[in-house]
């Protein structure tokens, strides 16, 4: 179960691009989970199975449309989270490279 307060984390301290990207990835992942929870909570067909008529069909159509929309946006947020994790990994890899390049012609 996701921590509902995690999306309220304070901003990371400046000067740590890797930490900042990972923090953003966590926030985006948390928002994606929230949207998934909303999608799961929406009434399914069987919740209104005892009703009938065009109003019931219209309600179910509208709810299904929002379910699809939020499902799509949840997937988009998951894609963003993966992008941010990847960017953080790349940034970490760049930072871990040797800071001094070998001098030209310095070697015997």
């Amino acid at each position: 179960m996701h921590d509902p307060t995690s999306a309220c984390l304070p901003p990371a301290s400046g000067g740590d691009p890797v930490g900042e990207l990972r923090r953003q990835a966590r926030l985006v992942g948390d928002l994606g989970q929230r949207l998934e929870a909303v999608v799961r909570s929406l009434p399914r067909d069987e919740a209104t199975a005892g009703w009938f008529g065009p109003a019931r069909d219209a309600l179910q159509y509208a709810v299904d449309r929002e379910r699809a929309r939020l499902g799509r946006e949840g997937a988009r947020l998951e894609g963003l989270r993966i992008q941010l994790e990847y960017a953080a990994d790349q940034a970490a890899a760049v930072l871990s490279l040797p800071q001094t390049l070998p001098s030209r012609g310095g070697a015997p």
């Binding site: 999306a7 309220c8 901003p11 953003q24 926030l27 985006v28 928002l31 929230r34 949207l35 929870a37 909303v38 909570s41 929406l42 009434p43 919740a47 209104t48 005892g50 009703w51 109003a55 309600l59 509208a62 709810v63 449309r65 929002e66 929309r69 939020l70 799509r72 946006e73 988009r76 947020l77 894609g79 963003l80 992008q83 941010l84 960017a87």
Partner: protein
């Protein structure tokens, strides 16, 4: 399989379902809002592509919020409108149906006058032929008819048929007025949908009058006695905890042998409070005999008369020291539910609650400023007998008597008190703001009280 429960105000529309789905959508809108407000800080400008994606997510989530809010509003409005609109529509349909019934009655009575000589002649021939049929074949015909009736009886537990019967019973008086020549338009004005001068109570009054002519009166005086063997102290009294749930209340309804149970409590503020439980009809009681909880009392109640059973409850309440200022909750089953409704609405008591199960009380309005809960089974014939439910502020709970399929035999199986206790238990667990509000509004004594049971005996009216 669990029993399906629906809760509605007044006419019995399942407005709690509309409310429930509306609440789910409202919560979905709130949760989406939580997501939407957290997206802008994530657009840092570090990546144009990611920022654009976040824009789109935010826009889409906001669209969903608007949709959920609109749907939740629509459902709330529908729930509110259902209670008034359905009653209005039902009343309009009933007016039209009442005029049609009167027209049919008028037509049949006229046809009857024309066809009567022929019908009498035909009946005479049938009787003659019947007398000529050998005994063995006559018995075979009777057995076949009986078999056909046995096959028809289970249909009387079909909810759709029972709803139709409810309407037809409400129209019986209109057809009768038409039969005696009252014009259909006038019937609409005089009947339940118009001035209310004629209704199902009029038809029941006619039945009660016929029963009285045959010596079975449902309004004869009664005597009550405290149940129990300790006569020196005027019967037994024992300590009892206050009722804790709907199922608990239904479980306290007595058998017809001791049809009245009264529990006396003291409320936290020191004022007295009384719970009265009233039993259903004694199915084995002879019509108009010593047992006041019989069919004669049933008919008298539906006719709006002070039946022997109603008199008995009044006497028991007086014996228990109930005054016009005593807080009182009426709980009744079947005939007891009808008595409970009548007394709760009589204005003679300070009613603080009403709970009925399987009661033929549709013809009695419930307009008081107290929580009222009516529990009915969709397959139960008895509540149908009082016709269309009208003019009530009660919370109507309709449940399935047979969640696992109907049992074999027994037309009135859906009317059994034990099945109603189970349905009340399901209602206790049912999530419904309307029902919960009504249950929470019932008085809650803090301490244990005293329970007394009463028997009742009908006394034959001395010949005048």
């Amino acid at each position: 399989m669990t029993a399906r429960i629906s809760v509605g105000l007044g006419a019995g529309v399942a407005t709690d379902e509309l409310d429930r789905v509306g609440r789910v959508l409202h919560t979905a809108a709130q949760n989406c809002h939580e997501v939407a407000v957290r997206i802008p800080p994530l657009r840092t400008g570090a990546s144009v592509g990611r920022d654009a994606d976040l824009w789109e997510v935010q826009g889409a989530v906001r669209q969903s919020i608007e949709q959920f809010d609109a749907l939740a509003r629509a459902l709330r409005t529908a729930a509110a409108l259902y209670d008034t609109a359905e009653q209005t529509a039902a009343r309009t349909l009933e007016t039209v149906a009442s005029q049609l019934a009167a027209a049919a009655g008028l037509l049949l009575s006229r046809l009857g006058i024309v066809l009567l000589p022929g019908l009498l002649a035909a009946a005479g021939r049938v009787a003659l032929v019947w007398g000529l049929v050998p005994l063995a074949q006559r018995e075979a015909v009777v057995a076949a008819v009986g078999h056909g009736v046995d096959r028809l009886l289970p249909a009387l537990s079909e909810p759709a048929l029972l709803e139709t019967l409810r309407v037809m019973l409400s129209l019986a008086d209109d057809a009768a007025l038409g039969t005696v020549g009252v014009p259909p338009v006038l019937v609409g004005l005089l009947g339940e949908t118009g001035l209310g001068l004629f209704g199902i109570d009029t038809a029941a009054l006619a039945v009660a009058g016929l029963a009285a002519l045959s010596g079975a009166s449902g309004v004869d005086p009664v005597r009550i006695d405290r149940a129990g063997s300790d006569l020196r102290r005027g019967g037994e009294t024992r300590a009892i905890e206050p009722p804790g749930s709907l199922a608990d209340r239904v479980g306290r309804i007595p058998e017809a042998a001791t049809p009245i149970v009264i529990e006396r409590y003291t409320m936290p503020d020191g004022t007295p409070h009384v719970e009265v439980y009233i039993s259903g009809t004694d199915a084995h009681a002879p019509l108009g005999g010593e047992q006041p909880w019989d069919m004669a009392s049933n008919v008298a109640i539906i006719a709006g008369e002070e039946s022997s059973s109603v008199q008995a409850v009044r006497l028991a309440l007086a014996a228990a020291g109930v005054t016009a200022g005593t807080s009182i909750v009426f709980t009744g089953y079947s005939q007891g539910g009808a008595i409970a409704t009548l007394l709760a609405e009589s204005g003679d008591y300070r009613t603080t609650g009403l709970v009925t199960v399987g009661a033929p009380s549709g013809a009695f309005p419930v307009r008081g400023d107290y929580p009222a809960i009516v529990i009915e089974h969709r397959e139960d014939l008895v509540p149908v007998l009082s016709g269309i439910r009208r003019d009530t502020t009660a919370v109507v709970v309709r449940g399935d008597a047979f969640p696992d399929g109907p049992p074999p035999g027994g037309v009135l199986a859906a009317h059994e008190l034990e099945r109603y206790r189970r349905t009340a238990s399901t209602a206790d667990a049912h999530v419904s703001a309307t029902l919960s509000a009504a249950v929470e509004s019932l008085p809650r004594p803090a301490l244990a009280g005293e329970r007394s049971a009463y028997t009742a005996t009908r006394m034959a009216r001395p010949p005048s």
